[in-house]
Assembly symmetry: C2
């Protein structure tokens, strides 16, 4: 997938930062010393971490050079490192692993989640927030539009799509034997000005794999076909706004010490 | 319906206060002068309001004498008044109307919500949180058990049941022409020790109308039939806990000034 666009992504920064703030508000740590922001994007979540924990050593990890550049510009005093989360492991255990809107791009959570838990100090906290919207019209209509023969041949299987999450109880099952766990799922209803605003929101995230695989000539046709469907699926409300329905899953796990010798089963 | 039991209700006070705190966190007011806590229960939500707004005039309204007594004991400096929300109207407009886990007992939201909006000062805020769990197994199984012929004859139509909510977009539609509106819906997954703990949670709220209508001799039989179904519907997780799945709807509406002459249409 080509690189992310930090400017476009940040256009809805207020809405995109709120879940990070709500996740952070539930982290039961007074003064973690080492924090890693896994999938830090343009640094909006990292900034929240630095504000709450000003004396912590904080590092941001992301696979996108453009996002890292934006994060470094925003927070010059912190460390930002280019790394794929699927491959990442810390040099030494961390007290808080914060993953805001990033793990849904990483495969195989049944193996990933225990591995992240092992990266924590005893008593350390894993805090996760992930979009859980693949069954919403916003994303179902991406797939429906992609099945149109004009696009299907060219698309094949887009190189990288967000992953279908496990259920909330399944995440609980993975973590509860080794951690105190809190799970919740919030659906936000974002009032947006029209179908075009919904596209603008999704262009910098869920639509990216499709647009990249199609290439410039077909992109515009795909977007106009998709916008027509979005316009019908999100009718105007009493004030003319469209409500973008956006469910997100939240997990807080405080690791019990010690873990079984030899690590967690997976 | 007989009176509420503040002690039993407060046994899960941490879990029951969290939604009130999350609702309050989104109230965009720095210093409201007059606040009403609509359906204040034992005063746990009122206490949050008093802590955030120590110089406001705060009154709690509830229909339950037992709940009001518990609230007065907790917060002797505040005013608590016995009143049915369906009949309530303020003597003068208020800056913040806070309704935590109360309006789902009040009928006809299409008329109620505009009426509450009219009770606000210009710029005033209506903040609502309501359980939205009638379609969860916890409540569907109350109805299923009640349909058992041993109970159905005696039950008839229980005197007072929680109301089915409107959808989130429907609340948005009611409010958006007259207010800046924020709506979200959070599903909590509460780890409880077993089926008996789920019953204990619901005994002081959703189960009350059924238990009261049945009377003492049939109550125990109803509870044991219901517990058997709950035990099957909420299987033990990896640590033995049961996850009580509990969705709640949240609404924040900041009134635009002025409202149309003659009030809102309803």
């Amino acid at each position: 997938m080509s690189d992310w666009n930090p400017l476009l992504y940040s256009r809805f920064e207020t809405e995109r930062t709120r879940p990070a703030a709500e996740l952070l508000a539930r982290v039961p740590l007074a003064a973690p010393r080492r924090i890693v922001d896994l999938g830090c994007g343009p640094g909006n979540s990292t900034e929240l971490l630095a504000r709450r924990y000003p004396s912590a050593r904080i590092a941001g990890i992301d696979a996108s050079p453009a996002m890292l550049a934006a994060a470094r510009e925003r927070l010059p005093a912190l460390t930002f490192v280019e790394r794929d989360i699927a491959q990442w492991a810390p040099a030494e255990p961390v007290d808080l692993l914060f993953a805001n809107a990033s793990l849904h791009w990483v495969p195989d959570h049944a193996r990933l989640i225990p591995r992240l838990l092992e990266a924590l100090t005893p008593g350390g906290v894993l805090a996760i927030q992930m979009p859980d919207n693949l069954d919403e019209p916003s994303h179902a209509l991406m797939r429906e539009t992609a099945a149109d023969p004009r696009f299907a041949a060219r698309l094949g299987e887009p190189s990288r799509l967000p992953r279908r999450l496990l259920s909330a109880p399944q995440y609980y099952d993975l973590l509860a034997p080794h951690a105190l766990v809190e799970v919740w799922r919030t659906t936000y209803y974002h009032p947006l000005a029209g179908a075009a605003a919904i596209l603008e929101w999704l262009r910098s995230s869920g639509l990216m794999p499709y647009l990249e695989a199609l290439g410039p000539p077909l992109q515009e046709l795909y977007l106009s076909e998709y916008e027509r469907r979005i316009d019908a699926a999100y009718p105007a409300r009493s004030d003319g706004a469209r409500l973008l329905v956006f469910p997100r899953l939240f997990i807080i796990a405080a690791r019990r010490a010690p873990l079984p010798a030899g690590g967690l089963p997976r």
